[in-house]
Symmetry: C2
Subunit: 273 residues, 2 copies
């Protein structure tokens, strides 16, 4: 998907919500466990219920991988089921030497038709550029994450006062343009979002950490906004497990609408719609 | 596998060779393509041919993942086929928040019975510790990698003169002992190996980069050795694709024996056997 189409989708849906498909066999409603593919049945219902209120879906690959080949089948069916006007993100956090990165790109961009994949930057340029060889496909680089462990290395400061995550932003933004590269920027660090926005004004951010992890949507919009919105805000558990009963899909829809309406207010406030 | 058993295996095999199973559909001999599971048939033959000359196997997960559910089946069959006295490494380079890391651990330590998994440290402590909750299972943290991109971030230097990879070693070695944690240290940077050894004297290193990437076995042993050997030196393409004909397994065996014999000389020189 092109950046232009993504922005168009944000405007027409009046939303910059990304629904995280962290689909967990231990948490999906019991009545689905008797179906042939409970993971896919759950995702299908969630997608049907939320697709008018979000612009992106982000399956967390760990949740599928741990189920073996069957999990990969559920994932493939899910990605094939998501409407083509939605931006799809494989939250895989891969990162390897060039030779191996090419195979990861093949997995997520050829075997499965994802629009984007999340990448850890530790191994540098050749862990990122093989993904950028695919036209209209995206790499989403971990910059400033939302977890506690983010403090361990991402804030390491060099001799010029630059932090590791700032260094990651400066270098990686030379390897890929804002038409193909985004950044993971956790919502739990508002001051961080602003510092990231200052370094890469044009890039989109994928923002996890709203809801279960405690981040705020308004703070994220205040500090992370750019002229094209520039934000995909993810919510996983808050939507997926709004109810653990047979009404899970309608409750998920209610939650998605609730977030979408907050986003609509922000989009209007900012003058994008 | 315990550290003690691994050291015992090194002594009895007179080898610290790890065979990297980067099994590539485009490079395996043509006559295998007619079998039901070419990847597994290839791996089976390679394992049979090399198991007396190595102590570890390291499937590179990217090569299996890109084949979809069938690739995961080949991987599962491969890990089940490897003799139990061999140390097995899922070269997956995962790294995510704690909640997700638990699922990755489940994949590699429960669904598949790997001894170890490689992990990228960018997201910090909670991306590593969930794996350490498994008894006798290992995390192998990327410290100093063998690729060109290693120079992009791993050598970033903080105010006290400490490099990122040194910081990673110091912090992560507090999270896990040498009984459960190892480091990836590329053979292409001999001076780097020595600096890593100085910081973590007791830990094992998984050393890629010998052969195709240009690293030297003798330099690695000179700079990386510790009292228990402390090295697992990986070779992938040099062994797997020693021949692309029907004699691939016997040629792979010849190559493995060649490396094992060099290692035996080193092990004797160092007085470990």
């Amino acid at each position: 998907m092109t950046r232009e189409k993504l922005i168009q989708e944000i405007k027409s849906t009046k939303s910059f919500l990304c629904v995280g498909l962290d689909t967990d066999m231990d948490r999906i409603p019991k009545h689905l466990l008797d179906t042939e593919d409970p993971i896919f049945e759950f995702n299908k219902a969630i997608i049907d219920a939320t697709k008018d209120h979000c612009v992106a879906y982000k399956p967390n690959i760990a949740f599928y991988e741990c189920l073996g080949p069957k999990g990969w089948e559920s994932l493939k069916k899910t990605i094939d089921y998501i409407p083509k006007n939605k931006f799809t993100i494989a939250d895989a956090k891969r990162g390897d030497i060039g030779n191996t990165s090419r195979y990861y790109a093949k997995t997520f961009f050829e075997y499965m038709d994802f629009d984007a994949v999340t990448i850890a930057p530790y191994m540098g340029e050749d862990s990122i550029t093989p993904f950028l060889e695919y036209k209209d496909k995206w790499v989403i680089v971990l910059a400033l994450t939302s977890n506690k462990g983010a403090l361990d290395f991402q804030f390491m400061t060099d001799l010029s006062g630059e932090k590791l995550y700032e260094n990651v932003l400066k270098k990686t933004s030379k390897w890929g343009s804002a038409e193909q590269l985004m950044y993971v920027v956790g919502a739990t660090r508002s001051e961080g979002i602003q510092s990231v926005r200052n370094i890469v004004p044009n890039y989109f951010f994928l923002v996890p950490g709203i809801g279960a992890q405690g981040g705020s949507l308004n703070d994220t919009a205040q500090y992370g906004w750019n002229d094209d919105c520039g934000l995909l805000v993810n919510s996983s558990r808050g939507i997926l497990y709004a109810s653990e009963g047979e009404d899970f899909a309608s409750k998920a829809q209610e939650k998605a609408i609730e977030v979408q309406q907050e986003m609509e207010v922000i989009l209007k406030d900012k003058g994008l719609i």
